[in-house]
């Protein structure tokens, strides 16, 4: 606990300011580990090289505008599914949370069961439900909804729990103060508790968008043209599988990294923690 300067992370606090002997060892260790990392990278690059994957014909298509235009179309598809599913799951999650905290026993139990159900099944299983099972009952869904609905349901269970954690984080005194003013429970929930709860969980809600984005990548199962699906189409066109898949993976990683970063920045600004 230094009274001055930077707040110290535990990661650094594990180590003392080094003495001369430690400093020497650190330099040697740094050089050795740097060499090991370099060798690792070299081996990977070499593997790409000897298997011919560095050949220009696998990578030149990345310089073509049409490639990116088509990928961007897919990216828009991904965003459309992710944002629609995100918004809908927020609404459903809110409903589930309100039901669970309503104090009405049967409703609360039902909402709990539904929440636990959607949290406990793989989103792929939900996708197969909408892709294979729902049509058996004569219901025709567009491919957009066949991917959006399962992704939405899977997220809603998690969001219900995140929102509930937010509600629990609102100090009890707030509710008591509101009750002493003669406010009715529902009014207290919507006027006093929820606005604060949502403020607590905004960063967590944003970071859950990462899970939604990840779930959208199975859109190819229902042939919805998202980023992944369009990448697969391009692969057959260009016969450039390795480079294409790595490129798409990087796009997803950067997108999700950005979402996580945004969530962390907002969390810091609001002074709240991210619940996962």
């Amino acid at each position: 606990m230094s009274t001055h300067g930077k707040p110290m992370s535990i990661r650094d606090a594990l180590y003392e300011a080094p003495g001369p002997r430690t400093r020497r060892r650190m330099i040697i260790g740094t050089v050795l580990s740097l060499a090991a990392v370099a060798v690792g990278i070299a081996l990977i690059v070499r593997q790409f090289y000897v298997t011919g994957q560095l050949a220009p014909r696998y990578w030149t298509f990345l310089g073509q505008a049409t490639t990116w235009r088509y990928l961007f179309q897919g990216f828009r598809g991904t965003l459309a599914v992710a944002l629609t599913a995100g918004v809908l799951s927020l609404i459903l999650g809110l409903v589930l949370m309100l039901g669970r905290t309503s104090g009405i026993k049967p409703l609360s139990v039902a909402c709990r069961v539904v929440t636990d159900f959607f949290r406990g099944v793989p989103s792929l299983l939900l996708i197969y439900f909408f892709f294979l099972v729902v049509p058996q009952y004569g219901i025709k869904l567009s491919s957009f909804w066949m991917i959006t609905l399962p992704v939405m349901l899977a997220a809603s269970g998690v969001l219900a729990e995140v929102l509930r954690a937010g509600v629990n984080a609102v100090p009890r005194g707030q509710v008591e103060a509101a009750m002493s003013l003669g406010m009715r429970p529902a009014r207290i929930m919507f006027k006093i508790v929820l606005p604060q709860a949502i403020r607590f969980v905004i960063p967590s809600l944003i970071s859950q968008l990462v899970v939604v984005v990840k779930d959208t990548t199975v859109a190819y199962v229902v042939s919805y043209p998202d980023l992944m699906q369009n990448a697969r189409v391009l692969i057959t066109n260009y016969d450039a599988l390795v480079s294409m898949y790595f490129t798409v993976a990087v796009v997803y990683i950067l997108l999700n990294f950005a979402i996580n970063k945004l969530s962390a920045v907002i969390a810091e600004r609001l002074g709240v923690k991210i619940i996962r």
């Binding site: 406990g120 792929l124 197969y128 058996q136």
Partner: protein, 219 residues
């Protein structure tokens, strides 16, 4: 298809699917734990290059979608002369993703310890190794129980990626896809599998909560 018909025709398949999901989960999780520890050690090591590699690993594998990673391992790696059988591909995907989150859990477990306790241990004359053994590891492990329980459930759900590749025997989600493409199993066919997942998750959650109550560190 009614329940009895469904079970008589596909009961064995469901059971094998559930057991397959279980053991794929168990194997993956064991490796997830080992790798999580290794990655965490890199991330808290005093050597910058190792820290960087550890951080990068976590950022890549916590942000990559499971499907994207799976297709790379299944379809791209053979072009780089690394061929794994399908099941191994699924397990490796699960391990890579799971260990990124596992390391995050350990890191936040370590973060709850606080600089003060380290300084107190140092003041008593404990060496670095003793501080790690006596103060850091026990606390990090104990406060990671609940997050790791959730991770175990997440690992189980991730093994559903197995439905995207041919495997025999199939895991639970693959079984549902198989049944529904062959006959009209209806909502029941789906619910049986869902029950397998939800039930397993509930048991894991319960066990995790009990263990957590036992070892939780009061603060």
């Amino acid at each position: 298809m009614g329940l009895s018909e469904l079970l008589s025709t596909y009961g064995q398949l469901y059971l094998t699917g559930l057991v397959t999901t279980w053991w794929m989960t168990a194997v993956s999780f064991a490796f997830v734990m080992v790798l999580s520890v290794a990655i965490t050690v890199m991330r808290i090591s005093p050597l910058k290059p190792l820290r960087l590699v550890g951080d990068l690993y976590v950022q890549i594998f916590r942000n990559i979608p499971g499907v994207a990673l799976l297709v790379i391992i299944v379809y791209a790696l053979p072009n780089l002369r690394l061929v794994l059988d399908y099941r191994t591909c699924v397990i490796v995907t699960t391990i890579l993703m799971g260990s990124a989150f596992g390391s995050e859990n350990f890191m936040s477990g370590i973060n709850t310890i606080g600089v003060g306790q380290i300084e107190a241990a140092r003041s008593l004359g404990l060496t670095f190794r003793q501080i790690i053994q006596q103060i850091v590891i026990p606390q990090a492990l104990r406060s990671a129980v609940l997050p790791m329980t959730n991770l175990l459930i997440a690992v189980m759900l991730t093994t559903a990626l197995g439905s995207q590749v041919p495997m025999s025997p199939q895991e639970l989600t693959g079984v549902v896809s198989y049944i529904n493409t062959r006959s009209t199993g209806g909502i029941l066919a789906f619910l049986i599998a869902a029950l397998g997942y939800v039930g397993t998750a509930a048991v894991i959650g319960l066990a995790g909560n009990r263990l957590d109550k036992k070892v939780r560190i009061l603060r």
